[in-house]
């Protein structure tokens, strides 16, 4: 049997004429099936937070205007644990981005003034192109090709 949902999920305003069994979560909740992507999607926020702390720390060290400290800080990031974390974070945020852009068209207003939103295939193609270009740019910057 699957886990119990909230006891009053989908309860009617007036109690029914017979005793009912409590609502059940779908069998695959929460560890398998379709809830996994949903929870993972929300959890990427935690990853982003950690990455954000890392960036903050880097900015802090930068602000000390000390080249030695900066080099030490950068070499600290070459620790295997950080590299594994970064790899994982890149994949997770990449997946997050793809899923976000798949759902994104639903959040667009159908009309802005006289301008209508483009048809879905055009919108999706545009978003995918933007995603690819943005990823390429970021990769280039981080890889040192630019800036």
């Amino acid at each position: 049997m699957s886990a119990r949902a909230r006891i009053d999920s989908m309860r009617p305003k007036r109690p029914g004429s017979t005793r009912t069994a409590p609502p059940r979560m779908p069998d695959l909740y929460p560890t398998r099936g379709r809830y996994l992507p949903y929870i993972a999607f929300g959890s990427v926020g935690l990853l982003l937070m950690l990455v954000g702390f890392g960036i903050l720390r880097s900015v802090w060290v930068l602000g000390e205007h000390d080249p030695a400290a900066w080099r030490a800080h950068l070499s600290a990031y070459r620790h295997p644990a950080y590299i594994v974390f970064h790899l994982f974070a890149m994949l997770a945020i990449g997946w997050f981005g793809l899923r976000f852009f798949r759902l994104f068209p639903k959040t667009q207003p159908p009309k802005i003034g006289p301008l209508r939103s483009p048809p879905e295939p055009v919108l999706l193609a545009g978003l995918r192109t933007a995603f690819v270009i943005a990823t390429a740019l970021v990769a280039a910057v981080l890889g040192g090709a630019i800036g």
Binding site: A5, R24, L103, K106, P109
Partner: protein
């Protein structure tokens, strides 16, 4: 029966007069290659266990009666082909709903939510009695056509994580139907409906899992309806500071 494969069906049973809680029973069913899950359930009722209770009617995926969890996923059993499943198939009542008996769930909760969104054409306050039909262009019809396809099968409620955790949430189908009327060019009731949409359990309770759209058998896309409703409500709220509140849309 020769030439027919046998599948095992693990079916949830519950009789409130006899059972403390739901239990499962196993049935061996000789299935035909082109059967749907519903055909197997009817076979069980006719040939093996007449005490099995389940709802069904049209068997062509338009009445919405036969929604159940099949191997953990909410499905219309009249539309779900058995050839997609292995040798064991689990059939349970729709998730997130109280269970009345066996595979039959409590529907009154949904009807309460449907009533709350006022799913009918609300005329303008000063409208004269209409003669004949409204004019409605094909584009105006397209604006809400998709959302009017809802057969009230409630698979979306079974898939939605918010319905499971938030008892006041109106839910995908009710919001999609309310939104269908908001978008209908003949309706003038968006002001009233948006009061409900902005309230407790309204559109902003939705956390955009989009599972409702994934399971909808009629391509209603309730996920989109809810997001569009959120957006229109936010725009309406924002502009209410600038524009005097007249006809709220």
């Amino acid at each position: 029966m020769s030439g027919r494969e046998t599948k095992t069906f693990v079916v949830t049973r519950f009789d409130p007069d006899r059972d403390e809680a739901p239990r499962t029973e196993r049935y061996e069913v000789p299935v035909r290659d082109d059967w749907k899950v519903l055909d197997a359930l009817n076979y069980i009722k006719d040939e093996i266990d007449p005490t099995l209770s389940h709802r069904w009617s049209c068997r062509m995926a338009v009445c919405g009666s036969c929604g159940m969890q099949v191997n953990g996923e909410p499905k219309l059993t009249c539309k779900t082909a058995l050839r997609e499943y292995g040798s064991t198939v689990e059939v349970a009542p729709l998730a997130n709903f109280p269970v009345v008996r066996d595979l039959v769930i409590e529907m009154e909760g949904f009807l309460d939510k449907l009533q709350a969104v006022r799913p009918w054409i609300i005329e303008a306050k000063d409208a004269a009695r209409r003669e004949g039909t409204h004019r409605q262009s094909p584009e105006e019809l397209e604006a809400f056509k998709k959302f009017s396809m809802c057969i009230n099968c409630m698979l979306c409620y079974a898939a939605c994580p918010v319905v499971a955790n938030e008892p006041d949430f109106l839910g995908p189908a009710a919001i999609a139907l309310g939104h269908r009327y908001n978008q209908d060019s003949r309706d003038h009731g968006a002001g009233e409906r948006n009061q409900v949409f902005r309230g407790e359990g309204g559109v902003f309770a939705c956390s955009f899992a989009n599972e409702c759209t994934e399971v909808c058998p009629k391509h209603v896309d309730p996920g989109y309806a809810i997001q569009e409703a959120k957006l229109l409500n936010v725009i309406d709220w924002a502009t209410s500071f600038v524009v005097p509140r007249g006809k709220a849309r």
